[in-house]
């Protein structure tokens, strides 16, 4: 086992993997810095490119774009007050205030260093927590997978903070689409209308490219092409002093824990983690009055948390095959394309590839630090690029990407249709992440339910037999009522000070 870890460390340093890490991080930062382009979109577009690569290089490249994009979002959040990705929204609060004060460099430096700390520490969680969780995977039978998917689906209610109704509607759309394809137990085609390409369900990656990339093209094309606000000129260096690093370190560590745990939980992603990290940073800070007016602790709190999500979110994806968010959902697709399945095999027969990937994840974070410190301000210039240039590029990449997965024109049509669907999802303020989650969890839940009932000859007792099931039921109930619980908690907390005064 240990020799595989060591092999991974050495193999990740091989020039091809280093190059893949460097290029993908740069591409990721670019995607993240461009407002409107998300991490999910970057990873979805990269998957077809990784086909020809060896499995470890391909996975490192995907992780590079993921981490780079989550970090890159902070650049435009700080310089343009427009978060490049939604998870950088909390960074914009204090980041832009610092820019207005002429401290853009310091803000960017804080974001870079905090992102690095969050990312690299979450990798340790990946190393330590994944193998035991993977061996636990064998204890997941049909009944346990059923409850796991139910748990994932309950999260949708929590994710869709704006309107639970719209979140549930999005989930229902995803579940409906997921019924297309072969019946998992009887082997009979459902809703395929004689189209043989639909026998395995709606082509997943093409659908995601449509939902996340193509829809953005439509949205951007609709709003009038306008020259974006110019990024503020940076006057100071992208660096922090030792004293400042010391000041943000406790915040970074706290946010790393928050981010990693949030990442492990299915459904909750970088955005939630960033806000939680930001709030906790304020709660513990000695300089509370700085928050909202340009606090480096605020930036660090948000950025360490959203980058810690990257490592955390890979844990359930790799071990149980349950992706926590839409980016890891796409990553899971890349894993399957490379002939690897989530579960204990990743740490036995595929151990070398897996540990190379883990080590590559660390390398990716190091490159992210270097790229951020030395080239961060150049990416800021790109963030204000004209939409007229961006639209045809994304459009082209979407078409090529969806075509090249199976070399079929059919997948391009799927991508275009889901692009239109995604456009209306944005218009009606529905939740694309909830759709994707339901698309993945639906078949797992259905197959689990039906297989369990076959094994038990129709007795429902099987669903309450194992400890794993009971734990999952408890977690589902908790997550289902968590919005109510949170509200109650915050209300009681808000009322307490009044009582004392």
């Amino acid at each position: 086992m240990n020799s595989d870890v060591l092999y991974g460390l050495i193999n990740a340093m091989n020039w091809m993997n280093l190059l893949a890490a460097f290029l993908s991080v740069s591409a990721g930062v670019l995607v993240g810095a461009l407002p409107g382009l998300s991490a999910a979109m970057g990873v979805a577009l990269l998957i077809p490119v990784t086909f020809g690569m060896p499995a470890d290089t391909a996975l490192i490249a995907l992780a590079g774009v993921y981490c780079g994009a989550i970090y890159g979002g902070s650049i435009s959040a700080i310089l343009l007050h427009t978060p490049g990705t939604s998870s950088a929204a909390a960074t914009a609060i204090d980041g832009y205030q610092m820019t207005l004060k002429g401290q853009a460099g310091k803000a960017l430096g804080t974001a870079t260093i905090a992102s690095f700390i969050g990312g690299i520490l979450s990798t340790i969680a990946l190393y330590v927590l994944s193998p035991p969780l993977a061996s636990l995977a064998l204890r997941f039978g049909p009944a346990e997978y059923f409850w796991l998917s139910i748990f994932g689906l309950t999260i949708i209610a929590g994710v869709s903070s704006k309107s639970i109704l719209k979140g549930l509607l999005s989930g229902a759309i995803g579940l409906a689409v997921s019924t297309i394809g072969m019946d998992p137990v009887l082997g009979v085609p459902r809703f395929t209308f004689g189209v043989r390409y639909l026998l395995d369900g709606v082509p997943f990656t093409s659908a995601l490219i449509g939902l996340f990339s193509m829809s953005q093209v439509l949205v951007m094309a609709e709003s009038k092409l306008k020259v974006k606000e110019k990024a503020h000129e940076m006057t100071d260096r992208v660096m922090l002093s030792m004293a400042e690093i010391k000041r943000i370190l406790p915040t970074c560590l706290r946010s790393t824990v928050i981010g990693t745990v949030t990442g492990i939980l299915p459904g909750a992603g970088g955005t939630i983690a960033a806000y939680m990290g930001y709030n906790e940073a304020r709660r513990f800070s000695k300089n509370k009055e700085e928050f909202g007016h340009g606090s480096i602790e605020g930036i660090a709190g948000a950025e360490a948390a959203n980058n810690a999500v990257t490592g955390g979110s890979l844990i359930p994806t790799l071990t149980l095959g349950i992706p926590g968010n839409s980016v890891t959902a796409i990553l899971l697709g890349g894993l399957i394309i490379q002939g690897m399945r989530s579960g204990p095999e990743l740490f036995t027969s595929h151990a070398r590839i897996t540990y190379t990937f883990f080590a590559g994840f660390m390398v990716v974070n190091v490159f992210m630090l270097l790229v951020g410190l030395f080239a961060g301000k150049y990416f800021a210039k790109v963030a204000s690029v004209y939409d007229g240039i961006l639209i045809p590029i994304i459009f082209g990449l979407s078409v090529i990407g969806s075509y090249s997965i199976y070399n079929r024109l059919f997948d391009v049509w799927v991508m275009l249709i889901f692009g239109i669907v995604g456009y209306f999802i944005k218009k009606f303020d529905l939740n694309a992440a909830a759709i994707v989650l339901a698309l993945i969890l639906g078949p797992i839940g259905e197959a689990g339910l039906r297989r369990a009932l076959i094994l038990s000859r129709g007795s429902y007792e099987i669903f309450f037999r194992s400890t794993v099931s009971l734990v999952l039921i408890g977690m589902s109930l908790l997550s289902l009522f968590s919005p109510l619980l949170m509200e109650w908690l915050s209300r009681s907390r808000a009322s307490k000070p009044k009582e004392s005064s």
Binding site: G187, R196, L199, Q338, R451
Partner: protein
């Protein structure tokens, strides 16, 4: 006028093609045996890479075996053989692409038996068994009955006795409803007069994970899928679906030894679209024969736990017809 021009062009093309053919060095030792002659379909074949459709995912069992053979065969063929993984619907999507491909000898593919023959019996498929013609058989992976290493059943008799006493309580996982392992398990159930629960999972990995995690009690699998786990002591073989005992596991009895004459396994063969001319089929059969019996290939196959069984075109056709007859007979009996 235009027609005449086209004719002239065609004559030029034929002449130039013939010239190409005679310029090309025939692949070592193949020209004489296949009876190549001027103007035959073989002239100049192959002048470009040959695409080989694999109807399953890259990195899976079928894919690994295919790439292993093709890397040897392309040396003999003199042109690259490019794998196209067209996966989906239990192989149907790839099989359909193969059946509908241009019959020019530049698209061939792997099929799995009995899956290729059984799919059109189970549902309306977009290919028919007659849409392809056999080239060679490469692998024959015999079926086995397997339980966990810590299972109370040490022998096949103990297993059958237990199931007879407790009908309908023992669950056997398979790799999909109506898939090969399901047929194997159901056939045993019928012959032995026992009653088990058939649990369909998606694919061999999940079918075995269910056994290893104690969610089912036994599995019908292919020997190559479980050999490593058996050698590691995690799983135990109870019986094999073969005529003779499996070479690598001589202590494992065959079902025939208990009076159940069930032969079952999965074969992987190369086929071409039905319209491909005889000369090309013969040439390819010869190339693959040489590749299969080569020492390099056999050594690599041993390393990969791949049980090789060569069959020529006629033998393979006979095998496919027999599989169809067997399935037609057995399916109604086992209630499928």
């Amino acid at each position: 006028m235009r027609k005449a021009f086209i004719w002239v062009l065609m004559i030029f093309m034929v002449i130039s093609l013939a010239a190409c053919g005679s310029n090309q060095e025939p692949a070592a030792g193949s020209a004489g045996e296949t009876g190549e002659s001027e103007g035959s379909a073989l002239d100049g074949y192959p002048s470009k890479p040959v695409e080989v459709i694999v109807a399953y995912a890259a990195g899976g069992g079928t894919d690994v075996g295919a790439r292993l053979l093709l890397s040897e065969a392309e040396k003999i063929l003199g042109q690259p053989m490019v794998v196209l993984n067209i996966e989906g619907a239990g192989g149907e999507i790839g099989f359909t692409e193969l059946a509908k491909a241009d019959p020019d000898g530049y698209t061939i593919g792997f099929i799995n038996l009995p899956t290729f023959v059984s799919l059109p019996m189970d549902r309306e498929t977009q290919y028919a068994v007659e849409d392809v013609r056999p080239i060679v058989n490469h692998v024959f992976d015999p079926g086995v009955l397997v339980v966990r290493g810590d299972s109370p059943w040490e022998t096949f008799e103990q297993f059958v006795d237990y199931v007879k006493e407790n009908p309908g309580t023992v669950a056997i996982s398979n790799n999909g409803a109506g898939a090969s392992n399901h047929i194997g398990a159901a056939h045993l159930e019928y012959e032995a007069g026992i009653e088990v629960i058939h649990a369909p999972f998606d694919g061999t990995t999940n079918m075995l994970a269910a056994l290893r995690g104690s969610h089912v009690d036994a599995t019908v699998a292919k020997i190559s899928e479980v050999a490593d786990l058996v050698n590691a002591g995690e799983l135990r073989l109870l019986a094999s679906y073969t005529a003779r005992r499996i070479e690598e596991f001589p202590e494992v009895p065959t079902l025939g030894e208990f009076g159940y004459e069930i032969l079952f396994g999965s074969a992987r063969a190369l086929v071409a679209p039905a319209g491909v001319p005889d000369e090309i089929i013969d040439h390819l059969a010869d190339v693959f024969h040489q590749a299969i019996v080569s020492d390099e290939h056999m050594a690599k196959a041993r390393e990969a736990n791949l049980p090789i069984m060569y069959m020529g075109p006629d033998e393979l056709r006979y095998y496919m017809v027999n599989e169809a007859i067997y399935l037609e007979e057995i399916k109604p009996l086992i209630g499928m």
